[in-house]
Each structure stands twice: as structure tokens, then as C-alpha cells.
């Protein structure tokens, strides 16, 4: 389904939309407060952008350096061209280790590859251990936000889910109680796990190590208790040197939630005695995105979610309306590169206000890329008849000042005089779900000319 269709489903529950909108705006506000207290924040963003852009322009070299160092550290490195190969590699590692129970910490990449259903089909139990991810897993839904996976669920829904699946007592949605019960439930899963899968926030070429950031401690509980640790990363997670972490760890937490840093920033390099560590490096369309000069900057993304929290469309349409692994503005520039037809409505899910680009810690020109995808999509995918025709008519009207003036006059008169039932009727898509302003008596042109005349007279 298209973004507008899915968004209208989300918009049926107005109260929930209002809550969603405000909750995310509050996170954006916390980000602002935190960011404004950092001296030379803009310089920090410039560094983040510069390091990532340099990395992308030498990506093959840094990946080889990373691999060589990881091997020296006793870590086995695997390469996957696509989602299917990634899933097979992980599956094989689990089979080799006779692993039947797996705990997973947050990894958008494994979501992108649909790893869970692949493993579950072979009878392997995969438990998502981030609380938000566990909630959506129990609800059999995908995450709706990359940092706050269950932001679309209210506490009463979580209460019901936990009663059904974890056998908790009804608690009127008490977050303290529900979190505590989830801790007990997942503690058992950590203890029983045969293998742990984590994502990777940053992989350091110079050391062969990698960093995983969480607030809950779930990545560490999984990785240190289970005998096997598999870390899955997209090729673009590489940074050249250890010291570059100073830039990215300063940027990430503040941009994501306003925290000065995530609770745990874990630096994995060598497996502990008697344990095994694997890294799976995944392409899955990234090398192709790298070939597109207009869109390659999207690969700088560090997955903080700031663009989602600030986006007026995301906040009011919900993450599921994007029907993509990564929703929101960044998802809308990443997804068309993977499947232009399926995601053809996403670059239009934006007002092009530019707020996403303003908050992006690595200065991706998200709104400019949304605009550029629109140019490609209108050429390459069929557009609705009404939209196509009205654009043609508007295009012609805009080139003829006299006609424009007349059309303007009619439109202003109509907005003043026509009854609400006509203004908000179905053919007028601009009147859908919104009140239109009263039409002013003057056009801007008339107002300006009058003003100039009065000026000259006085």
C-alpha cells in the first residue's frame, strides 16, 4: 500500500496520532537542549560528515584493513552480497555450533534481511531482547522507529501483550512493573541462549574492533553469556581510526535521545577465552547506492533517528506507514534505491521543510535527496491521472501571468463564498482532513502595487 493510504489508517485514531506527534517532538526537544550545550556542535557535525565521506571514498580499502585486523584478533569475517546470503551465513554459523536458542539485540540490518523468519523456519528460537523490539516481536509487527521500535504502542497495549505472552498481572499499563517483568523474562532467555546476534554501530578499520551502543545492556548480556557472538554490519559502518569514535559517540546519543552518550558503548575486539566471535559484512544494495552521486551521502547515516523525531509527516503518519525497514526521511531516501516501484510514494511523504537535514548529525542533505528522488520517480513510475493532469495544468498556468491572475481571483472568491461541503468535497485533495483558510480579498500582486502607490504618494 502507498504511504498516503497507510497514513490514513494510522490517522483514524486521532488521540493516538496526537500523542505520537507530541512524544516524538519531545524527543526532538531533548535533542536540542543537549546539542545546544555542546560548544562548536556544528564543527562536530562537520567532522562527522567529513570522516564518513572520506570513508566512503576509500571504502574497499578500509574494509580490507578491517578484515585483516579482525582476523588477527581471532574473529572470523564473512561477506554477504545480499540478504539471502547474510541469512545463510548466520544460519550456517548457528548450525555449526548446534545453536537452537538465539538472543538478538537491536540490528536494523537483520530486520532488513528478514533474518528472524529465515531462522525460525528451521526451528531456531530467535528472541529480540531490546524491550521495544520484544514488544513488537510479541505483537508480530515490525519496529516503527529505528531507536524507539514500539513508539506506536501505548502502555495498555503492552500490558495486554505481556498478560497474553508473559503471564503478567493486569497493571493498568504500569511501565515500571512491565519493564521489570520483561527483565525477568529476558534474563531467562539470556541464560539459556546458545548464541547472541548483535548489530554494529561502528567498526574500526585500524583495530579490527567494533562498537555496539545500547541503553538497556542487552547486547552485552547476550554477547558475554552465550558461547558464540555474531555481529552483523552493513559495509558503511566502517570508520578509519579509533579516535574517530570520539566524534561519533558525541554525536549519536545526543542526536538520538538527548542523552550525552548511550549507557553502554561496548568496544569488542577479541573473543573472550573459549568463545567465538563472527562478523558478517553485508552489501545488500549499498554498493549500488554508492554509485549514485546524488544519493551516496545517504550512506553516511549513523541511525540516530533524529530525522524521524523532527519530521512533521513521520510524527503524524507513524513509522508503519512507510512500509520499509527504515522509516522516516532517511528511509525515504534509502528505500527507493532498493525498489523504486514499491517505495515510489515515500519521497513524497515530506513537506521539504528541511528540518531533517538540519538535525542530521552527519549532515546528509535529506530534503534535497527527497526532491531528487521525486524527479526520478515521476519520470520512471506511472503517476495518478489526476495528479499528472493537474500538474500539467498548473505548469501551464504558472507560465501565463494573465491566466494566473484570473485563476487566483476565482480561487480566492471560491474560498470565501463556497459552502464548506464543496470546499472539503472529495475532488479537492487539499481539503482532505484539513480546514482551508479564508480567501483574502487581494492578491499579493494587488497588495504590493497598492503599497507602492501609497509610498509614492506620501
Amino acid at each position: 500500500m502507498s504511504h498516503p493510504k497507510l497514513a490514513s489508517i494510522f490517522n483514524k485514531d486521532e488521540k493516538k496520532v496526537d500523542w505520537h506527534d507530541k512524544a516524538l517532538w519531545f524527543v526532538r526537544h531533548k535533542r536540542d537542549k543537549s546539542v545546544h550545550s555542546v560548544k562548536n556542535w556544528e564543527e562536530l557535525r562537520n567532522l562527522g560528515q567529513g570522516i564518513k565521506a572520506h570513508m566512503l571514498s576509500n571504502l574497499d580499502i578500509y574494509l580490507e584493513e578491517f578484515e585483516a585486523n579482525a582476523n588477527k584478533n581471532g574473529v572470523e569475517v564473512h561477506w554477504a552480497a545480499n540478504a539471502e546470503e547474510h541469512n545463510q551465513i548466520v544460519h550456517n554459523i548457528l548450525k555449526e555450533n548446534n545453536a537452537k536458542k538465539v538472543v538478538k539485540s537491536k540490528s536494523m540490518l537483520t530486520e532488513e534481511c528478514h533474518l528472524n523468519p529465515h531462522l525460525e523456519a528451521d526451528g531456531i528460537e530467535v528472541i529480540d531482547t531490546d524491550l521495544g523490539e520484544r514488544i513488537v516481536q510479541l505483537a508480530k509487527e515490525p519496529p516503527s522507529h529505528i531507536v524507539l521500535p514500539a513508539i506506536h504502542k501505548n502502555k495498555h497495549e503492552v500490558d495486554e501483550l505481556f498478560q497474553e505472552h508473559l503471564g503478567t498481572e493486569p497493571c493498568d499499563g504500569n511501565p515500571q512493573y512491565l519493564t521489570h517483568e520483561a527483565r525477568k523474562h529476558l534474563r531467562q532467555k539470556f541464560i539459556e541462549a546458545d548464541a547472541a546476534i548483535t548489530g554494529v554501530n561502528f567498526a574500526i578499520a585500524e583495530t579490527g574492533g567494533f562498537v555496539v551502543c545500547t541503553n538497556e545492556g542487552n547486547a552485552d548480556m547476550g554477547a558475554h553469556l552465550a558461547p558464540v557472538h555474531i555481529a552483523c554490519m552493513g559495509v558503511e559502518k566502517i570508520i578509519p581510526k579509533l579516535e574517530h569514535l570520539s566524534v561519533f559517540l558525541r554525536l549519536l546519543g545526543r542526536s538520538a535521545t538527548g542523552q550525552p552518550i548511550t549507557t553502554y558503548s561496548s568496544h569488542f575486539k577479541k573473543p573472550a577465552n573459549g568463545k567465538k566471535m563472527h562478523i558478517v559484512i553485508v552489501d545488500n544494495g549499498r554498493s549500488e547506492q554508492l554509485s549514485r552521486p546524488d544519493f551516496r551521502a545517504s550512506l553516511r547515516c549513523i541511525r540516530c533517528g533524529a530525522c524521524m523525531n523532527t519530521c512533521p509527516i513521520y510524527r503524524r503518519s507513524g513509522g508503519h506507514s512507510y512500509d520499509a525497514t527504515v522509516p522516516g526521511p532517511i528511509g525515504s531516501i534509502l528505500s527507493p534505491g532498493k525498489d523504486l516501484k514499491k517505495h515510489s510514494t515515500l519521497p513524497f511523504a515530506s513537506t521539504l521543510c528541511g528540518s531533517c537535514s538540519d538535525v542530521c548529525p552527519v549532515k546528509i542533505d535529506i530534503h534535497a535527496q527527497l526532491y531528487k528522488w521525486r524527479q526520478i520517480i515521476t519520470k520512471e513510475t506511472p503517476q495518478p491521472f489526476v495528479k499528472k493532469k493537474s500538474m500539467q495544468i498548473m505548469g501551464s498556468v504558472f507560465t501565463k501571468p494573465k491566466q494566473f491572475e484570473t485563476v487566483g481571483k476565482i480561487a480566492r472568491w471560491s474560498l470565501r463564498n463556497l459552502p464548506q461541503s464543496v470546499i472539503n468535497s472529495k475532488p479537492n485533495v487539499w481539503g482532505k482532513e484539513r480546514d482551508l483558510p479564508k480567501g483574502p480579498k487581494q492578491s499579493f500582486d494587488q497588495w504590493y502595487n497598492e503599497r507602492q502607490k501609497n509610498k509614492n504618494n506620501s
Binding site: L56, S57, L148, L249, T263, F268, K270
Partner: protein
């Protein structure tokens, strides 16, 4: 090995012309922080507590007063073995640490700007310790507090570690309706003691 050669060849063919690597000039971020004050403030912001102590003995004394009647305790501080109720050398599987109540660890690096304390393999006999314990106590000499992450990594560049972690506060989550709950999967509380 999988598709290694194919992926690398594609990346090589598709990458843009080489761009320069920017140098980090950490002096531009310097606000002349009062390190102890800022560190204390930030640890409290992220849900932890900071206290002063005069010695390792004093740390143990204070923490037993704050958290009395705990069953399973372990400290890596020198001369505090009387506090320990378990012997790590008899632990064969980290899963046996499930009931750990208090863990006291030493650190030689903390960061004022975010209240993060560095813990690594050298002071960590078993990696899961600071995550699986109910209450985590970190002990740190005041002179080891650095202003920003930049200075921290300058130091870490000279201390290669197999595993290390920056810990900022107790574990937490806000995944249920954005209500902050302290105590997710890791420690339920974090206490930092500063030594002169």
C-alpha cells in the same frame, strides 16, 4: 568467504574520488570545564550517584551501609577480599553469576562531558560482570577524569584492549510510552566513588 571479491570490486568501481580525512582539533570544543563538578552533574543526569571516599576500605564501608544485607558481593579493589562472598576462580560459566548483588570495579578513565566511566578487560576478570550485577560500583581517582571523549581516546590509543566499555549510568529504557524506567537488562543502580 562468500562474496568478498565481488563486493570489494563493486565498492572500488562505484566509490567517488578520494576525499581528504579531516583532522580533529579538540581544542575548539574546550569550554574550560570544572572536571569533577561536570562529571558529577552528568552521572546524576544519567541516573547514577557520585560520592567521595578516602580509601578502598572506605568504599566498602560506605557501600555496605547503603546496600546492607546483600548476599553475593564481589570487589576487585586491592585489600577488600573480606567483602567477597564468591571466588571467581571457581566460576566455570559466566551464567553462574546470575545472583550477583554488588560488584565493585576500579577504573582509570572517566569523561566529564557525559559521565561515562571506562571499564576494560584488565580490571574485568569476566566480561559479563558489570552487566549482570544488580548494583554496580565504580571507583575512580579524581585525576583520571578527562574533559571530553577526544581526550579519552587519546589515552585509549595507548592502551589497546580486547574488550572495554564506557558506562554512563545504570541500565535504562523508555520503550513503554516514553516513560523512563531505570533498570532494564544491566545494572539497576550505579554508584561512583571518587578517590583523591
Amino acid at each position: 568467504m562468500g562474496s568478498r571479491a565481488e563486493i570489494l570490486a563493486k565498492l572500488k568501481a562505484n566509490k567517488p574520488e578520494a576525499l581528504p580525512l579531516p583532522q580533529i582539533d579538540s581544542s575548539i570544543f574546550d569550554e574550560g570545564l570544572n572536571l569533577i563538578e561536570e562529571f558529577t552533574k552528568k552521572v546524576e543526569v544519567v541516573g547514577g550517584n557520585v560520592y567521595q571516599a578516602t580509601s578502598a576500605d572506605d568504599v566498602v564501608k560506605q557501600i555496605t551501609k547503603m546496600l546492607p544485607d546483600t548476599k553475593v558481593n564481589f570487589s576487585t579493589l586491592e585489600g577488600t577480599s573480606a567483602f567477597n562472598t564468591i571466588d571467581l576462580s571457581t566460576i566455570n560459566d559466566p551464567r553462574e553469576l546470575e545472583d550477583l548483588d554488588i560488584l565493585i570495579l576500579e577504573s582509570d578513565l572517566a569523561v566529564a562531558e557525559n559521565g561515562a566511566v571506562w571499564v576494560n578487560d584488565q580490571s574485568l576478570p569476566i566480561r559479563v560482570l558489570p552487566f549482570i550485577t544488580k548494583h554496580l560500583v565504580l571507583v575512580l581517582s579524581k585525576e583520571h577524569i578527562l574533559p571530553y571523549m577526544h581526550q579519552a581516546y587519546e589515552k585509549l590509543n595507548h592502551q589497546p584492549t580486547d574488550f572495554g566499555v564506557f558506562i554512563s549510568g545504570p541500565s535504562k529504557t523508555a520503550d513503554i510510552e516514553q516513560s523512563l524506567v531505570i533498570g532494564a537488562h544491566g545494572a539497576l543502580s550505579l554508584t561512583v566513588f571518587l578517590l583523591d
